[in-house]
Symmetry: C2
Subunit: 333 residues, 2 copies
DNA sequence: TTGGGTGTCTGAAACGTTTTAACGAAAACT
DNA sequence: AGTTTTCGTTAAAACGTTTCAGACACCCAA
């Protein structure tokens, strides 16, 4: 096992001082061509790899960002993560992944890890609206960009999608199909997305001249396919004629549960999901859904974060809100 | 923006030396109860968070591991990642995520980042069989555990699933259903998984007294749903009666393409995938597949890696091979 | 000839931990 | 009482970078 080679040994072999090697690494334009190539050759010959921790310690900042998502098993977050990873990697940043699984404690632990690693910034889809934790990070000099969550204050960056509008789109579409008895299958009430999509749903009812209180809400403990299937068990007892699910995972699980119980979709029940994950188009009855620009969400969020890190003085905080898009397939009348 | 607080300030406030604070952090049993609680209080009051880079620099090893996957958009890898993250997080390790997207260059770049970060170890599903890169890591003292890839040498850990057997299972099942004209839709030939599943398929043919050369192979440039849909366009021109896809993403895309072209599954074409991702059960025609213990794969690999890191002397390298499981649904006769 | 640039490189001091040898005090043995 | 052990603590030396004030050589203008 070869001993790791340090900048000093490179310097020795190239016949220069360690400071010069550092310059070759960090501001190559400052060093004369001949010296530079000599150093570069030494680096190659010795297989030198910069010690990131030493660099971070001295320079005061790292080349890593933290990404905290709610459910890595959800293609929505996977797509976001792909956007983040692509751009971060292009810019030479490493991504530390944290999966909160919807647990506040786990999220807290992830943030602690990020703080210990002195990440340059954090991208987070918070699992609830408690902003104190994020304040704590910011007070440590770690930039935070909210992903799929609107900004709580103007002095921060956030990238989100208009969930109220998405909810309205979904339910308006169901109503247009003749929906009478509507159910909204939601995730935990603490999740902002669920609340806003619900509000959008209620607005759609109101806009159609109906009482928003008509909307029956079924709250599930998690937003997974399994939870969707459980929801189906509840619903078959008192079948609605239209269901809006807070995400596609719930919708796919629900769809499966309904079909297994012999319920016809969309004839008996009109069903629409949210996110338009890739698999929505391939399901037993292809799923109508509300599309979000997921990959883009991750990419833009990363762009904002890196800009905030690299140009702290010129950086202007931005709150970007994308618009969702209705995708109609077979599962709705 | 509060200045970050160091161990020294904690020491000052608690009236002890920095060394003692370090002991409280790393070997609390070595310090007297009263001193310890005094230090712990100071830590809490000042909001001290250990500087991971400084710690790494001095201690010579970090609390991070690198995870390099081929396609973060594939639920197979997502499940693996979930297993990795869960365990790593439990043990206080951070996970640096690298997505190679099947590109050798990108994989190389990820490994470089891992080396710079001085990760404690690397979990990797290599995108090809070039082992030199991994040797280079190991020679730097970074443990490597192969995920979903058998070991190339006995002195390394690897966790995989028997792909030859999986291929045999799949094709035997197709043959039992009366398959005559078989196609294997594969990913890039450089991927070991594709090759081994193919070998398994050929063995199944041989075992049935047929010529393995009968197996028509359609090689796609990537293993995604999109590629599967393209494969469908090729296949409809000369329709086989049974198709084995190298993974479920290909199979789902292919299924979609076939159905759109008016081909009935399984009546005209029997179709089986590989991985048994969650969405396989929910597709238009629910997909028969070969199940792999994905989450477990990630967890066990992490277990091995951390054992190798934490107990380098007692650690015994292990090559674990799980057995796949045939899951029969509607897409096969 | 002097004075001031300019371009290139050096040396040493930091950054915040961990680790080690050494120390004093108290406890446990002769 | 004297000696050894044990316990708890400390001071100082690393770890590998980056940074910054300066040094040195060279050239140009005055």
């Amino acid at each position: 096992m070869a001993e790791p080679v340090s900048i000093k040994e490179v310097a020795a072999r190239a016949g220069v001082s360690p400071g010069t090697v550092s310059n070759v690494l960090n501001r190559p334009e400052k060093v004369a061509g001949s010296t530079r190539s000599r150093v570069e050759q030494a680096i190659r010959e010795l297989g030198f790899v910069r010690h990131g921790s030493a660099s971070t310690l001295r320079a005061g900042h790292s080349r890593t960002i933290g990404l905290s998502v709610i459910d890595i098993g959800n293609p929505f977050f996977t797509d976001v993560a792909a956007g983040v990873e692509d751009l971060a990697s292009d810019r030479g940043y490493a991504v530390i992944l944290g999966n909160s699984s919807g647990s506040r404690a786990k999220e807290e632990r992830n943030l602690l890890v990020f703080a210990e690693q002195r990440v340059r910034g954090v991208l987070i889809t918070p699992s609830d609206d408690d902003s104190r934790r994020l304040e704590r990070l910011r007070s440590r000099g770690i930039s935070v960009v909210l992903v799929d969550h609107p900004a709580e204050r103007p002095d921060q960056c956030a990238v989100s999608v208009n969930d109220v509008m998405g909810g309205t789109m979904a339910v308006s579409h169901l109503l247009a199909g003749g929906a009478e008895r509507l159910v909204y299958v939601a995730g935990p009430a603490s999740m902002r997305q669920c609340g806003e999509r619900r509000e959008g749903a209620e607005r759609a009812l109101a806009a159609a001249g109906r009482d928003p209180a008509e909307l029956r809400v079924l709250e599930m403990p998690s937003m997974t396919a399994k939870a969707g299937q459980q929801a189906a068990e509840t619903l078959v007892a008192d079948l609605p004629d239209a269901v809006f699910c807070a995400n596609d995972l719930l919708a796919l699980g629900l769809l499966r549960g309904l079909l297994q119980a012999g319920v016809r979709v969309p004839e008996q029940v009109s069903l629409i999901g949210y996110d338009d994950i890739d698999f929505a188009a391939a399901s037993a009855v292809s799923l109508s859904s509300v599309r979000q620009p997921t990959y883009q969400l991750g990419r833009v969020a990363t762009e904002l974060l890196l800009d905030e890190c690299d140009n702290p003085n010129t950086h202007a905080h931005q709150q970007i809100m994308f618009q969702p898009e209705l995708v109609i397939r077979e599962s709705t009348r």
